[in-house]
Symmetry: C2
Subunit: 885 residues, 2 copies
């Protein structure tokens, strides 16, 4: 659908007193006119202008498509402009559309501003009919060639323009091959092909509303219309949705005089990259076939040769190709993906575009281009897709591997993992540690109780939850592969079964996860280890010089912190303390502490826990070496720490010297309907001040000890879920008084601030700023509350929302700038109005996502914080944000 506002704009344009230019000859456009001419058209024009041999032609603009799709008619002056451009093309080529002696044949190709390979339609050899085919025969002296072109054209036209099933044409070809008892199309001779042309026309006559048009101008007009209509076919619409392609006017149409690579052994066709797209090496990389058309290369009937072999076959053409290659790279200042045809020894370029490449190649090419002085370091940084860097930091499924994909979920945490299916965290832990098995933990969803199992597993698969579900967040934090919200599988944990359609997987069955695509694969698949390069480091250095925002990490353990620092993290933006409660040795104390009815027992357990946490912090402080570290005090609701299984409750009841029923009732009383919005975060801190006090003591004592060893400690006490200034006042006092109770011993630097994750916090940020030394956006919860949807439950509609275009992008992946972003803007503005130098960062999952990082830079945040494996992504994205401003 075209947004109504653009229609209005287009209408206005058409009503203008100046005549609108609807068609551009190739010598009239340039590469910057992608929006109007599409990528292909713009580059054909550019090549024409810089003297690259390109068959002449013209491009009908995307505005015509927009007009046509909405009104099912053409702008007034369009027909006349088409005639003019066609005349020009005839003059330039010295041929004439429909001329029996010297017929002009053209290709009609779609080409939008953003490449959508294979999504829209193409017609070749247009202009052929029973008359003009004779002219081709006369000119080429090759009847077979002429009829092959003709039958291909009728077939393509019948299918694409007139809507006749491809199978009917293929059936006719099969039949004639059977009759002649041959196997290959190439075994058919001119008369067979001629016969096919007539059979094809009959098929069209029987199956389509209209006959095959003999008039070449009618052919052209119908073909253009077909291309426009293909813009809105289901395939194209789905492709755009899946690939987040929005806001385009439509496709352009390129009408170009044909050249033929199948005119004999002095002709040929090929595709090539100006550098190796896989590893970035500076080598000409591609393949070609002599005496062939483009589709033959794709069809795979003959094996194409390596591009270098062209040198021996046609040295002149090869030299010319090398020359063109160099010209294009120098001109575009980037690796190019080109298509070429050699017609009777003459080279023609049919397409050039910036070539797709792996992250690995992108880095090498960017660095090389700088060394070759083609681009600046800044330009190099902009050439790399920041998000793709995370590909380089995880094991991958080998490209060549065979795989039996049985389901697809959300690509929640990149990398790949292979292992035996287990259905609970204890099993995962036991199998991994006791039996030394590689396991995949499969759950409906994970909870903090599963952490040990997640650590033990190679990868995690959940049937529920989105990109920021517990499983996804924790897995990314661990740098562990995760496929989340895989709704196609049904997990029955008690029966230890996965059901996928008719397939049933049992405990111990082997699966492989691809966390970069969301694929769940049956059996094991070969993986490959990540390779790091010097170029990678170079790019990071350049990025660090450019970026203004700092990059921190979300990490809770010394190991994770070290990984993040190695990746360049400049501090910790979020250290969650809850995992420190879940350790097997500690959880009994935590439970006793929560359930104890007398203060003495509670105090005793808290003291024990304090010692553990102190040790944890000492280790982390040592790793951090004085880098700033934001520690969030306990956040989850207390019931998350209590057992759920009957046997565990029974055991705990014995431990606590109470009855099973009593304990069960207590636990059930603690249960919450909407735990995300329940008794957690600062609400716990206020109603159970002893817990926050204990944590503050543990942190303070650890900091004092490490500082005494002459290492600097910079700790930021972070209070979660603050919505009211009074909450902050209450807890700031508690934390501050606890720290100050250490008197002269306090030898470390500290700040006290708040997470910003409740919408109200944004709206009253000026008030909060009075009590806070820093803000840190928790955009996971902020998104959930602002949009009113829970990451744990959104799986049920999120996919459909994306498919139906309700959401352009998954807001748990990229910051919803109009909603959540608006609140963030308000927050930054109000907060800095009160306290101009207020430190503001982001520690939600969005902190590692390039679009969100760009937004954070725009609104003036001081840092982003993300999981360790995303730190390089963030470093680059933060630099790109500066360069894009």
């Amino acid at each position: 659908m075209i947004p109504s506002s653009s229609i209005a704009k287009a209408d206005l344009a058409h009503r203008s007193v100046f005549q609108t230019k609807y068609i551009y000859s190739f010598d009239e456009g340039d590469k910057d006119m992608r929006d109007l001419l599409g990528g292909k058209g713009a580059n054909l024009a550019e090549m024409t202008n810089i003297g690259i041999p390109v068959p002449f032609g013209f491009t009908i603009t995307t505005e015509v498509c927009e007009y046509f799709v909405s009104k099912n008619s053409y702008p007034e002056e369009f027909a006349q402009q088409l005639e003019e451009k066609l005349n020009l093309l005839e003059v330039k080529t010295g041929k004439k559309l429909g001329d029996a002696k010297n017929p002009l044949l053209v290709s009609v190709r779609s080409g939008a501003a953003v490449s959508m390979p294979g999504m829209m339609d193409t017609i070749l050899n247009l202009g052929l009919n029973d008359e003009t085919v004779k002219g081709v025969i006369a000119n080429t002296n090759n009847e077979r060639f002429a009829y092959d072109c003709y039958r291909r054209f009728v077939q393509m036209f019948g299918n694409v323009v007139l809507g006749v099933s491809h199978d009917l044409f293929e059936g006719a070809i099969e039949k004639i091959k059977e009759e002649k008892n041959v196997k290959q199309d190439t075994d058919l001779d001119a008369s067979d092909l001629k016969k096919l042309v007539y059979e094809f026309k009959e098929i069209i006559s029987k199956n389509a509303e209209n006959e095959f048009p003999e008039n070449p101008l009618a052919q052209l007009k119908l073909a253009i219309e077909a291309v426009f209509n293909s813009w809105d076919n289901d395939r194209a619409k789905t492709y755009r949705k899946i690939n987040n392609i929005f806001g385009l006017k439509g496709t352009a149409v390129n009408v170009q005089s044909m050249v033929f690579g199948n005119m004999g052994n002095d002709s040929g066709t090929g595709v090539a990259f100006t550098r190796n797209p896989s590893n970035g090496a500076k080598e000409f990389y591609g393949e070609f076939l002599m005496n062939a058309q483009g589709e033959d290369v794709v069809a795979g009937i003959r094996t194409p040769s390596k591009i270098d072999d062209l040198k021996e076959i046609n040295e002149a053409a090869y030299a010319q190709l090398l020359d063109v290659k160099d010209t294009l790279e120098k001109h575009y200042k980037d690796m190019q993906d080109i298509e070429f045809t050699i017609e009777r020894g003459n080279l023609f370029l049919l397409q050039t575009r910036n070539g797709k490449r792996t992250a690995h190649a992108a880095i090498k090419i960017a660095v090389d281009l700088v060394e070759e002085k083609l681009i600046s370091k800044e330009e190099a940084l902009l050439k790399i897709d920041a998000a793709s860097l995370s590909q380089l930091l995880h094991p991958q499924i080998k490209k060549s591997a065979q795989k039996n994909v049985i389901a697809k979920g959300l690509p929640a945490s990149p990398g790949a993992a292979c292992g035996k299916v287990v259905f609970n965290a204890d099993d995962a832990f036991a199998w991994a540690n006791e039996r030394d098995e590689k396991v995949i933990l499969v759950r409906k969803e994970t909870s903090p109780e599963d952490i040990h199992g997640m650590h033990a597993a190679q990868g995690i698969l959940t049937s529920r939850g989105g990109m920021t579900s517990h499983a996804a967040v924790v897995a990314r934090g661990m740098g562990k592969c995760c496929v989340a919200g895989c709704a196609e599988i049904s997990v029955n944990a008690s029966a230890k079964k996965i059901i996928v359609g008719d397939l049933v997987l049992n405990e111990g069955d082997v699966i492989t996860l691809d966390g970069s695509t969301g694929e769940v694969i049956l059996g094991s698949v070969e993986l490959e280890e990540p390779k790091m390069s010097e170029d990678f480091k170079t790019i990071m250095e350049w990025a660090d010089k450019v970026r203004i925002m700092k990059v921190r990490t979300n990490a809770d353990t010394p190991k994770d912190c070290q990984v993040a620092i190695d990746f360049g993290a400049e501090g910790i933006g979020l250290c969650r303390t809850e995992h420190m409660f879940f350790d097997e040795e500690r959880i009994p104390m935590v439970r006793k502490m929560i359930l104890s009815k007398d203060d003495e027992t509670r105090a005793k357990q808290l003291t024990k826990l304090k010692e553990f946490q102190k040790c944890d912090f000492i280790e982390i402080f040592k790793v951090m070496e004085g880098k700033p570290m934001t520690i969030r005090l306990l956040d989850p609701p207390l019931h998350e720490f209590l057992p759920e299984k009957e046997e565990d409750i029974r055991k705990l009841a014995e431990d606590l010297d109470t009855t099973f029923d009593d304990l069960k009732m207590t636990i059930s009383n603690l249960h919450e309907i909407n735990p995300m919005l329940g008794h957690r975060g600062c609400r716990l801190g206020i109603t159970f001040p002893d817990i926050y006090k204990m944590q503050t003591q543990a942190i303070s004592e650890a900091a004092i000890e490490v500082s005494a060893g002459r290492m600097e400690v910079n700790v930021e006490f972070e209070l979660p879920l603050i919505g009211f200034k009074t909450e902050l006042q209450n807890l700031r006092k508690l934390v501050e008084e606890t720290i100050l109770s250490y008197g002269d011993k306090v030898n470390f630097n500290y700040k006290i601030g708040t997470m910003i994750e409740v919408p109200r916090a944004c709206l009253t940020a000026d008030e909060l700023a009075k009590e806070a030394d820093f803000f840190s956006f928790g955009t996971n919860d902020l998104t959930q509350m602002t949009l009113g949807f829970s990451r744990d439950d959104s799986g049920k509609f999120l996919k459909e929302y994306l498919e139906k275009g309700i959401f352009e992008r998954d807001p748990t992946e990229t910051i919803d700038q109009d909603g959540v972003g608006q609140l963030m803007r308000i927050c930054v503005e109000l907060g800095r109005k009160e306290k101009p130098d207020l430190e503001i960062g982001i520690c939600g999952e969005h902190g590692g996502e390039p679009k969100s990082i760009e937004f954070c830079h725009k609104i003036g945040l001081n840092y982003v914080s993300c999981s360790p494996y995303r730190v390089p992504v963030a470093r680059l994205a933060a630099a790109q944000a500066v360069l894009k401003m």
Copy 2:
């Protein structure tokens, strides 16, 4: 705690070059100086100025209290001003503090801007010591009186100022009574009392840090200080929190020359209301005791006489009192609550203030005062506490009733109810309908499945949930008494037990609920039926003429709609359609519809449901007679409709021809972690369009039928939980196309709009306004999402938050103007920018709460909508909002 900003302001004032006036003689102030002089001081000054006999004195301002509390010292010029005012008092009374012959005795009383009865301290008879008591004896010729005053003073001073336990003094009195073998204090003679004075001083000497000060000026200074200190005692702080008293500077201190009602039979003391505070009748209403001091009236040792009896005892004093009464009423233009003393035949007023009254009395008095031409209709409207009107519409616990309060929860829905305890909705229904028993439904929390039980019950008691929990909202909608979130009770529904401390209540035990106070009372208590008055109707008429906002109601059944219309509702602001799914006859269809795997079964069930809903709407449209009616399409998540109990699942499985395990798994798959933020509202509409289509058809067909009967129908289709414009576009199209499919038959008026309940909706209201004919704030969910807390779970911390002053008010009761209100402002501004005449209303529970209604008027809403029983409250509050602007 004094907010720091006010301290700063006060500091500035004290640094002013002009000397600040810290003390006002009674002839220097007036009634409008409450903030500075407190209510009592301002009124003493006012009375003094209009010639009412008031013992002379002066008032120390609240600013001095503020200064003293924060700095524990006095402003520089204070001492000098105190001396000056004291001198003036001595001149006016002709007595002298500490003068042995003609001693000045004074009272020292607190008095803040808002009355806080009994919360702060009072000292009487100050100025007595061993010397001055002799002067009193000489002047009164009454040694017993003098020593009685003296011992009372020492006792009060010892307790209040020097902190000695009251019990110690009472013990001494008891001891002397035993020794003398008498029962009453009045049986003690002058020498006993003299002895007591010395014993009291010894008690002080042993138990306090300081001796009793003989110096009257020292007594005065210490007493003032004690009053100031009492401002921040726990009792006073708690009182202010509970009563939402915020922003006061402190208490004023009134120093007033003593007059004595206990100087003999020509003396006396009394309290009176100028009109009957219970029913509003214009009659002098009060009581007095001759030869007594104020505390004797309160102590209840002697039975006071009715005020009219004073006429016979002292006609002159009575005449003067009547005169004073009339003067005060005319002057204050309101019913007054006065305290007086007659000293030797001379009348003195010690206090006047606007009298507290019942809602019933408030209405009568307001109407009468208008008839008496004392006030205008507008002033009359402002004199009534709008919230109190709901008292008049529900049965109440009889004031005089004895009650054994066993627990206290939230006063969720007013009125009172008495009945037998049952623990589930089915039992409630069965007991009420089959056994004709009155029952109280007791649940941890209620859900839509409990509706039939709630209907059947007299009242509802829940241990969880806040003022807007399901139980509270539904109960208010039904006009049914409800105590919610009563955390002190523990409900064990399976064992059918309530545990409150040591008390265990079983099924069938009788309790009484007071929904206006939140009290849970053991056994049955006498109730009284509501009385309606002509005056009530008069006030409503006046209010309707003044108010600008319309008042609609939230109602789902013809009966509720009729009730609301009788109360003056001008339309329906929220008709929830979910109850139409829960009817016993329909729920099996609903379940089949949800669980059916083939489209045919689903379609069949939907068609059946459509017919039911159509009938529902026909009935409601008939009652509404063309008044606008907002109908919200299905909102709750589908799993709410599915059974939870094993037996119900088993039965349904048979019905659906599937296995128990299968069905259980399906149901468990539909379960959500945070259902409030889950797959509900418009998300259902988009993923299951058939349901909204069916509802639109039912509404359209009903509207067509009713309109055909020549009755107007104005229906507003409301889409819930909208956060994105794309959601609205998608569903608007669905609803509109469904309506238009009826073609020419469409003879009714309709609008399509959205609930505003997701924060994002407010932030993007300009975009939404493009697709919406109206907005309606669903402030229940908007509050929960903006503040990030779930009404179902907030019980665990809400009470503590209120007690600790984190929340000034319960935001589920009164709109949180700084947070939620800010979003509402943004929404109205953006929405009206796009569409200036956009209709915007509120249908959350806040729509019936006066402070919130005032806010809604301020931001320009078109209407408020509330439960039927709150409609009169809203009509008055909407008028008051206009008058307060």
